[in-house]
Amino acid sequence: MTPVYKLSANSVKNGRTNYGSMLAGNTAYELPGDYQSISTVTVGSGGAANIELTSIPSTYTHLQLRCFLQANRATFGMGEFEMTVNGAGGTNYSRHGIVGYGSGGAGYWGNADAAYIYADRGLGTNTGGTYAALVIDILDYKDTNKYKTVRGIQGVDFNGLVGGYTGATNVFSGAYKSTSAITSIKFVSVYGNFTQYSQVALYGIKAA
């Protein structure tokens, strides 16, 4: 890198000061607060098959994803998503949850070994006309001494039967069974693409 030169009144006597970065000896600006926005992906008019957040910095303790998601799917008011981290598939995840559809069929689901984390019928669709909301926490995401815990809440409602359902709400949890730090997160829509205005916002939370 071309050196950064600092000239000051003192330079007349002592010459310029050379630095190896544009900070020129100053402290880097740090965002205020301990809950900080890292990145946001909002789907444009063309839709998207995937939503991915990459190059997640290791400067936080926990992560939170806040999602507003809809898929382009005919007939049904709900879609499905697959959430993976670090590009890992196989049986790198476990997952479980409880779900209510509003029809008296509240139940539970789970898998000890899975290729992704999800919430049952976790997306809205353009057919149902609404977007699913999800708030997902990933605890200690960069800790290389433990598996990673994921916990979330999800809900979508479209007022009346569409494809046999009125909506769904899940309380779910899962584990990424790896001690690797999480550096990327990917959402894939299983049926159709994510529609315009779908959004995943990633936030970092710092500890004291």
Binding site: T40, I98, G100, S103, T130, A133, T169
Partner: protein, 159 residues
């Protein structure tokens, strides 16, 4: 630069009240989060946005109480967001108004309620309007919220 997760307003009831309202909500955030402790009779409590009293809300409820898990879906004139209870029973609620200022989509409102000695409950509401949310009114099923109830509204700003 504003912080990402910012308190907008807090109401702590010095006397019983039939409603708690947050108005003139700025559209500069991405999501809103309402954190509350609602003291009163043991019942669901409700939210209306933008003073909309029409049948423009629908909700799915998932709850666990004791050994029972149940769910329910209704269309109604208010959203349903949490449970009130006597203060000694430790009620609490967290409600997320996602993409509340988006003027091209219906609004999804996701909330968790807990009463320490009795119930855990989750709600998803759809408010069928493309309007940005500019006011939030919280009200009990009947009567008043008791003195000491607290309601804090936060704004979260995405990058």
């Amino acid at each position: 630069m504003a912080i990402t997760y910012e308190p907008i307003a807090t109401t702590t009831l010095g006397s019983a009240a039939a409603t708690v309202t947050f108005s003139s909500i700025s559209g500069s955030y991405t999501d809103l989060v309402l954190v509350d402790q609602a003291f009163g009779v043991a019942s669901h409590y409700f939210v209306r946005v933008n003073s909309d009293t029409g049948s423009n809300y629908s909700v799915i409820v998932l709850l666990g109480v004791g050994s029972v898990v149940a769910d329910q879906a209704t269309n109604q004139t208010s959203g349903q967001i949490s449970r009130s209870a006597a203060s000694t029973n430790s009620p609490s609620g967290i409600t997320h108004f996602m993409n509340y200022s988006n003027t091209t989509t219906y609004k999804t409102i996701l909330s968790r309620g807990n009463v320490g000695n009795s119930i855990v409950i989750q709600y998803v509401n759809s408010w069928r309007s493309n309007s940005a949310i500019t006011s939030i009114e919280v009200r009990p099923a009947s009567g008043n919220f008791d003195t000491g109830s607290t309601f804090t509204l936060y704004g979260i700003k995405a990058a």
